[in-house]
């Protein structure tokens, strides 16, 4: 009787250097009970120093390994065709001085950028004119307009990224979280194609 094995590769897996990767780490498995333990403990890859920090394990390799382990297995794959194994070379240690440097870089950078923007669009004259339209009084320092404007500027950004009311308004992800996710997907797609020797093979390679 044929033993049907269903395999669903996980998208991303984190691993430590020198670790052995077993099938259960990188895929979900459904198979007849008699062979499940054997499959779960099947060694797929041994991380060595020669590996870089990204390893792509293609489902074709898994199928090959399974069919050499269990003769009459019929492998059905569902979902992603490969798993990205990210090797945590060293624990990512964020340096505090660097972080503070970046913080002030962004702080002063955005302060200067907004000043340049205001100057570029002649916001001063627009605001003074608006003040004259509404109040009928000429004022070169319409702070009653400008200070709320400045605070609103920050509020608008916070509102857009939905960080203040993150939990209260709704559970939908903020645009930033979606953006981070999309960026990660793009990176993953890149490494899937470029780090996987099989998918980049040229016709006259071997």
């Amino acid at each position: 009787m044929e033993k049907t094995v269903y395999i669903r590769m996980r998208n991303r897996v984190l691993a430590k250097p020198e670790e052995s990767i077993y099938l259960m780490d990188i895929a979900q498995i459904i198979a007849p009970d008699s062979i499940v333990p054997e499959l779960k403990k099947m060694k797929v890859h041994q991380i060595t120093d020669r590996d870089k920090n990204i390893i792509i394990i293609d489902v074709m390799k898994i199928i090959k390994l399974i069919s050499s382990l269990i003769e009459d297995a019929e492998v059905q794959t569902i979902g992603p065709a490969q798993t990205i194994v990210e090797v945590m070379l060293k624990k990512k240690q964020m340096s505090i001085p660097l972080f503070i440097l970046i913080w002030f870089l962004l702080f002063f950078g955005s302060a200067m950028a907004i000043m340049n923007f205001h100057d570029d669009v002649s916001m001063r004259s627009v605001q003074e004119k608006l003040y004259r339209i509404i109040t009928g009084v000429e004022d070169t320092k319409p702070w009653i307009f400008q200070i709320p404007y400045s605070i609103g500027l920050g509020l608008g950004m916070i509102l857009f990224f939905n960080h203040v009311f993150q939990k209260r308004i709704n559970e939908e992800p903020s645009p930033l979280e979606v953006e981070m996710f999309n960026y990660q997907l793009d990176l993953d797609n890149y490494v899937i194609i470029h780090e996987n020797k099989e998918s980049m093979k040229r016709a006259n390679d071997d």
């Binding site: 702080f107 000043m115 950004m157 009311f165 981070m180």
Partner: protein, 142 residues
């Protein structure tokens, strides 16, 4: 007769210019996704037509204000909510723009600080507020 042609030509050019600027304005708003974001936050997707009209009416009011120079002569305290809402709008524009340019994901990835990205956003938010207040209170009067 030549007069009529001139008037029609000028009207046509004016209409064409307005059409280009207006569609550009709407396209800009659409790309930055401010209105969808606001409807998402407030769960008022059904009212999107009204929001469109709000933008159009606002733009037309702005045109009237900038071209005709009317004087309303009402209390300066009316400037408070006007300034605040105007600021929120520009702030959302800026946020939408930095999001469209993928600034934060790249930065967070390079620095390896996926969790603390809020602090980086706060740097930009505070920078904008401080820069703007500094400009209006001191800088433009130097």
């Amino acid at each position: 007769m030549p007069m009529t042609i001139k008037v029609i030509t000028v009207m046509f050019i004016g209409l064409a210019g307005g059409l280009a600027v207006g569609s550009g304005f709407v396209a800009f708003l659409t790309v930055l996704g401010i209105i969808p974001r606001l409807t998402q936050l407030t769960k008022t997707m059904k009212m999107i037509r009204h929001y469109e009209w709000a933008v159009i009416m606002g733009a037309l009011t702005g045109i009237a204000g900038s071209l005709r120079d009317p004087i309303l002569g009402i209390s300066p305290y009316f400037m408070l909510p006007l300034g605040l809402t105007g600021g929120v709008f520009v702030g959302m524009l800026a946020a939408g723009l930095s999001e469209a340019l993928n600034v934060f994901p790249v930065l967070a990835k390079r620095l390896g600080i996926d969790g603390k990205i809020i602090i980086l956003i706060m740097a930009i938010v505070l920078g904008k507020i401080v820069g703007s207040i500094f400009q209006w209170v001191f800088f433009v009067h130097l």
